[in-house]
Every structure is written in C-alpha cells, then in structure tokens.
Symmetry: C2
Subunit: 454 residues, 2 copies
C-alpha cells in the first residue's frame, strides 16, 4: 500500500473549501470582465531563462524555484513559475503587436515556491492578477483601485480600506533630505512600520550596518513624514505646503488627487480610501501609485489586495517600453480571513435539493423529478441507492442540502411527494407531482429569508 | 534580451481562446453542481511514488512524467500529475472517512505529459473529470451519461451521440469463444475498428506475434459481433437471444436497459444515444458501463467525453473497496472542434460597451458613466487616454465591443451622449445622461436579436 499523503508544503482542497473559493473566483471574473479586463493563461512551466532573468524575481524567490525535467529533456532548462508577473511580461513582449494597447488582462492560477513549509504557508498557491498595460493615464490607476473595491464587495467582504500612496511623493521627500541614493534601505525599513513599531524602525534607519545609516535627525524626519502622512486627502494639503515646489512631489500629489476625484465619481465611498505617504510596497518595481488593502477588524492578515504602477513591464524581453498598472488579490489569504470571520457560507454542496430513493419505489421517479427541478435551474441530487431513508437524510444534512423530495411506494401510487426540511425535519406531505417545481421553489424562497429556517 | 518564447510543446492562451473557454468551464461547473457534484482540487505536484504505483499509469504515460525538484529537495521524489484520476484515488483514500459515500466530485485542472510535441498536441492540457464514488447503482451510471448530455448542451454543442456499452457483455461473449485470457489483445484490436477498418482489424486479430492469435473463424466471429452490435436498444434484443443465458452478459444487458430507461425519464432524446457492443475504452480499468461521445458531423475529432465504471478506484492506497463511475470531457479538443465548426462567439471581450474619452471632456464623465452601466450589470470599459476618437473606435471594434458611449465637450455642456454601433458606425445622437442605462440596454437588446446588426 502506498501512503496517500500529499508532498510536504502542499495540500488538498476539499469541497467545503472549494465551494466558497469557486464562488469567489466567479465573482472576481465577473468583476474583471465588467471593466474590459480579459483572461489569459500561460503555461505552468516556463523556460528557466525567462524566470531567472535579471530582476525577474528576488534572490529569495529564485532560490525557491522548482526545476522541471522529463526523460530526454535537458536538466536546468525548465521550471515552474513563481508568480504571474514574469509570465505576463513574457506574454506581452511576445504578443503585444497583435493585441494592441491598452491591453487589460487578468490571470488566475497556481504559482510555486519551495519555501520552508509552515502553518498557513504553502508551496503552491493561487494568484489573481489584473493589469492595464500600455498607458500612463491616471484613469487606469483609479480603475485598479475601483476593481479592488468592486471585486471585494462582490465577494462579500463587508468593510475594508484601500490605502494609496504615490512613490513620487516619497522619492521627492527623500531627495529633499539628500537621501535619493539610500531610498532602498529607507523604504525597506519604513515598510516594517506597522509590524515592528516606531522605535525599531528608528533604530534600523540609523544603523550603519544593514540599515540606512541616517543621522538621528534624518531618521526622525523620515519617521515623522510617514506618521503624519496617514489619513484622508487632507494629508496631501500638508505635504503640498511643505514640499509642493518639488516637481516630482507635485506630480505625485496631482495623481492621487485625480484618482480620489475619479473614484468619488464612480461612487466609491471615501470611507473605503486612505492615504499613507510612507507606503512603499517593495523597492524598485513600482514608480507611481501604490495600493494596499486591509479588511477592517482583520488587519492582522495584512494586505489582501496590493499593487501599483510600473514604468516598464517587459524590459527583459523587448525594447518596447510598456508602462502599466495592476494589482493582485491574495485569494488564499482572503479566504482564510473570511473563514475565520465566519463570512463564508458553510455548505458542502451547491445543489439545494436531495431527491431520496425510497426502497420499493421505481428509481425512475427520483430520476425524473430531479431532471424536472434542474430544468428550472434548481440543483437536485438523486441518492443513488435505495438504502434506509434515515441514512439518506443524514447524508443530505451533512452535505448541506436544504430540502429532500421523498416518494415512498404509497406516494408513488397516489402521484404525490413529501417535501422535508433537512434542518427542522418538518415535512409537507402529499404534494401533487404536478406542482413539484412550484412547491420546491417557494420552500426555497422561505428558507432564503432571514430567520427562514436554518 | 531574453527570447520571450514558451518552452517546446507548451502554449499561451490569448483572450480570444480564453473567453469561450471560461464560458464553457462556467457552463460545466454549473451543470456538475446542479447534479450535486462538488469541486475538489489537488496539488499539481504529487509524490513520485503516488504517480508511479503499479497500475497508476500506462508505461507510455510513466515515460512522459515531468520530475520536479527544488534546491535542497531529493531528486526523484516529486513529479507533475499526468491525469486527475490518480490524484482522485489518492484524495479519496485519504479523505473518504470524513467525506462519506456516495462521494460525487468534479475536478478541472492542468495535467502534464512530456510527449513529443506535435500539431494540436501539448505537454500541458486541461482535464474536466466527474465521478461518483462508493456506489454500484445503475442510477449513478445513467447520471454520468446525463451529465455529459447536459454539459455539452449547456456549452452549445448542437448535436452529438453518446455511445454506450457494458464491458460485461463483451467479456461474456469472449468467454463464450474461450478467449477470456486473450481479451486484452482482442479489445486493443477492436478499439481500432473505426480508425483502421475491418480488414486491418481481422489481420491483427489473427496475427500470432503482437496480435491476438485467433483462428480465422474466431476473428470473423469477433468482428461480426462488434459490427452487428451497433445501433439502438434493439441490438440488445439480438445479443440477448444469442448470449442471454450467460449470467455476465445478462447483467450487462440489464444494466444498459436500466440506463436507457432512466435517461428516457430524464428527457434525454433517444437520438442522442447509441449502443456499440464492440466499444471497450482501454483494457483493464473499466468493468461495467463505458461511454464515448462524438459530435455529429465532426467524428474525425474522436471522442470528446469518455468514461465508464470501475470496480475499485483506490486499491493502491487503501484496502477499502471503492467502486465508482465517471467520465472526462476533453476541453481542449472540444474547443478546437467548436472553433473549426464556427460555434464559438469570436469576441475579444465580455464587456459590450466602450466608453470613449473625448479630448477636452473631463475624464470624470466617462468614469461615472461606466460605473453607472456596471451597476446595472452591463460591462463597460473606459478608454484610458484622450487620443483621437477614431483610434478609440478602432480599438473597440477590434476588441469586440458592440457599442460606444461618446461625450464630446459640446455633449458634456448639454449633458447628453452619443451611442455608436461599432459594427454599422451608426450613431444615436444627443441622448440625455439621465436615460443612459435604458438607452444602452435597449440598444443591446436590438443587437441580440437575430439579424440585429452585426
């Protein structure tokens, strides 16, 4: 016998995880498509050279690459993708002449990283990315935030904050302190502010070895800038009065104001938006607006939808300059959060009806009734074996069916059926076969009302 | 510069392929769910031992395995799955005690085989499998055929034939000729009948070396049995009169009759069903009913949905006997067929509306109008840059938008918009902003009617 375990760091997704997951992905696809984002798919396997090209992934990510070989293949030639961004860059470089710009795509798929396995961290996980390539319009920037907003709303997340910044403001401020060359290490420290607190960040900013090597005065100014820079659009007024004469800063402020205005026009509530002038989102990649999203009351999960604007997506693969803006929703993290918060329905099936197979009744009856229900778009599962009816009801309750249709030999003779509520065990008895669809539909409507029975 | 090509035998799926593909998968998920099949997902990476266990895959498939290793991992330990059946067996062995039976699952995902690349044959392709585990009921058999029927209908396949057989009839017949021990090679030859013709099959049946080694008389009887065994339920009458006293054959006939009766109750037209007593579907795996499906007029594509009943799914992993029945839809093959037949809509977007951004008009106008349309479930894309309007219309036409909403500076002042049919270039001019949703909705309804404008 072979042990049926999965490999270390990997996992099976059973129906009770997959059902809310499929529902969420369907809401995302609907939202992305409604904005004119179109789906693409690239292979899970890429050429190694594509994945390890300069700047494609951080050193840490490259160490985690899964190499792939088949018999007769050359070792070291192929690998599993570790994100959807590098494949997007390759795809765009290869196909952009046929596709034209702006090119708005979404992609949903598994990515692989050989990380040390840990609780809640897996070697295969799902990314949901959407990007607009080939435009520098602030309208595209605003739209990415709007898609995050609409996708999370469609997925049933009750309240969340999309935090915005523009990297040009931060860059201009660091330039004003003469720290342009050290922005990398400064931003790396600032990104930790929410996690480790002000003291630790100050210490790291001042540390020469492995830190930014700032003077105590510079470190204090950087921290004050970040801490004062959190709030609504009013923080832009403050930074404008101190740094507005810097053209880089002014450009960043103008961009964020336009984005806020556009989102307001689109009906995105101001409550859902915040500014954080210390928000950097990584080091080199982003050059304009950046986004992070946290769920209110569940900030410990970190950002569940993040992204930003970049100057040049595919410089590894083409000399054509392709600016863009995009974001990624962390599907697994969001599902884990919603599960803990109790916001996911817990059913193990999407078919609300179980049609029982009563011992002694012709199986044709159950088969036909289920087909009639499906014909009016009501999911109906037929229990396949004529085992004792109590066991069939137990199966329905544990799988999450709402109602059972039961026809015993007596009911078959009279052409009637019983309709059982699987939660309350109450039964409507002796309903005529001719009113099957209507009876089931109204019973389901009652159940769907608040306090409607389960 | 790195060459942006994909590795040999792999491919990118651009939007014009992905849009009909997503639509089809959504129809399949809806159908599977409506019968109480629930989704599961297993990792793309499995332990090598799981994939190469005795009987898990044919020798040919095992030669094509992609091995996977990461830094610090042990070579030879992990590999990419080559189908969804072995992972299902492992999953069921591991989780069946929590899940209970009957367990009805579907799974949709990529599988990998290092085949020699050829036209239309790829090293990564998608399988859509659905199975009912833990019951021997003929009702579950009939349901698999019904799901194939409903899924293909939902996907828009106009006409197709589901061909059925029961392996017990074939086994009983071969037994009556004293050929039980040689059924493997006989079935292998018979499976080629449609492809190579009667002469070649006869020759192979008689060949001693690499054939079945039958006498000319036995070979002729086998061929006659297969050729006479194609048609409607009437072929069962003929085989019953000749072989009905064999209990194995009688069991197979009874099963097929029950399945035909049940499908008839469920409203599956008899035109869509056929019997082929020579249909074997591989050698050892299936033990009862088997299915194949061809699209009428497109038989050259072979079967696009196939499956059958097996005695014991997970014997490699558990001593618990788990009989089941299932089928797999060949998504890539079906899409290629429908594309060639012209049955796929050809649009490059799912958002029917393009909201243009007129030079000189505030971008807020376009942003707001698009948000209003989406709020009533009409997909609307905003063009991000105020480039000349003709170019924006060209983008919309080539991407597949149906209508464009256009507001120039004059229209902005008067709070009106123009609605342009992108195919005919006709414009309704000067419509009030207040009737945006209604105007767009009725224009789309006109376009959706036969002959409605594109």
């Amino acid at each position: 016998m072979i042990d049926p375990r999965v490999a270390s760091g990997l996992r099976d997704l059973p129906p009770k995880v997959m059902i809310p997951r499929e529902r969420m992905l369907s809401a995302f696809r609907q939202t992305f498509g409604g904005f004119g984002f179109v789906p693409i798919e690239t292979p899970h396997i890429e050429r190694m050279e594509v994945l390890t090209g300069k700047g494609a992934g951080s050193e840490e990510v490259l160490r985690q690459i899964f190499e792939v070989t088949n018999k007769g293949g050359t070792p070291g030639e192929l690998a599993l993708r570790f994100d959807l961004t590098v494949p997007l860059a390759r795809f765009v470089a290869k196909h952009i002449d046929e596709l034209g710009v702006p090119f708005k795509r979404y992609a949903i798929g598994s990515v692989f990283r050989g990380e040390r396995p840990a609780k809640g961290r897996f070697r295969e996980f799902t990314q949901c990315d959407f990007d607009t390539i080939g435009t520098e319009s602030p309208l595209a920037d605003a739209e990415i935030a709007q898609v995050i907003h609409d996708a999370l709303t469609a997925a049933g997340v009750p309240d969340f904050t999309i935090t915005l910044n523009n990297r040009r403001i931060l860059d201009g401020f660091l330039g004003s302190l003469g720290l342009t060359g050290r922005s990398g290490s400064v931003l790396r420290s600032l990104d930790k502010l929410a996690k480790v607190g002000a003291e630790a960040v100050l210490a790291e900013l001042e540390r020469a070895e492995g830190g930014a090597g700032l003077t105590p005065d510079q470190a204090r100014q950087v921290l004050e800038f970040a801490e004062a820079g959190r709030g609504g659009p009013d923080v832009l007024v403050a930074v404008e009065s101190s740094l507005g004469s810097d053209p880089t800063v002014a450009e960043g402020i103008r961009n964020l104001r336009t984005v806020f205005d556009l989102l307001n026009e689109a009906g995105v509530s101001a409550d859902r938006l915040a500014i954080d002038l210390g928000l950097a989102r990584g080091l080199d990649y982003y050059t304009g607006i950046v986004f992070e999203t946290t769920v209110k009351g569940w900030e410990k999960y970190g950002s569940i939808a993040s992204g930003g604007r970049y100057d040049n997506l595919a410089s590894l693969f083409t000399s054509r300059r392709l600016p863009g803006v995009g974001a990624s929703i962390g599907l697994d993290r969001l599902l884990a959060l919603m599960d803990e918060a109790g916001w996911l329905g817990a059913s193990g099936t999407v078919a609300p009806i179980l049609v029982a197979q009563f011992p002694g009744t012709s199986p044709k009856v159950a088969f036909k009734m289920a087909a009639r229900l499906r014909a009016v778009d009501i999911g109906a599962e037929v229990f396949p074996d004529p085992i004792p009816i109590g066991k069939q009801m137990g199966y329905g309750s544990s799988k999450g069916h709402r109602l059972a249709v039961i026809v015993g030999p007596d009911e078959e003779a009279k052409q009637v059926f019983n309709l059982r509520n699987l939660a309350t065990r109450q039964e409507d008895r002796g309903l005529a076969w001719s009113v099957l669809e209507d009876s089931v539909e109204s019973a389901l409507q009652v159940l769907a009302q608040p306090g409607g029975g389960s």
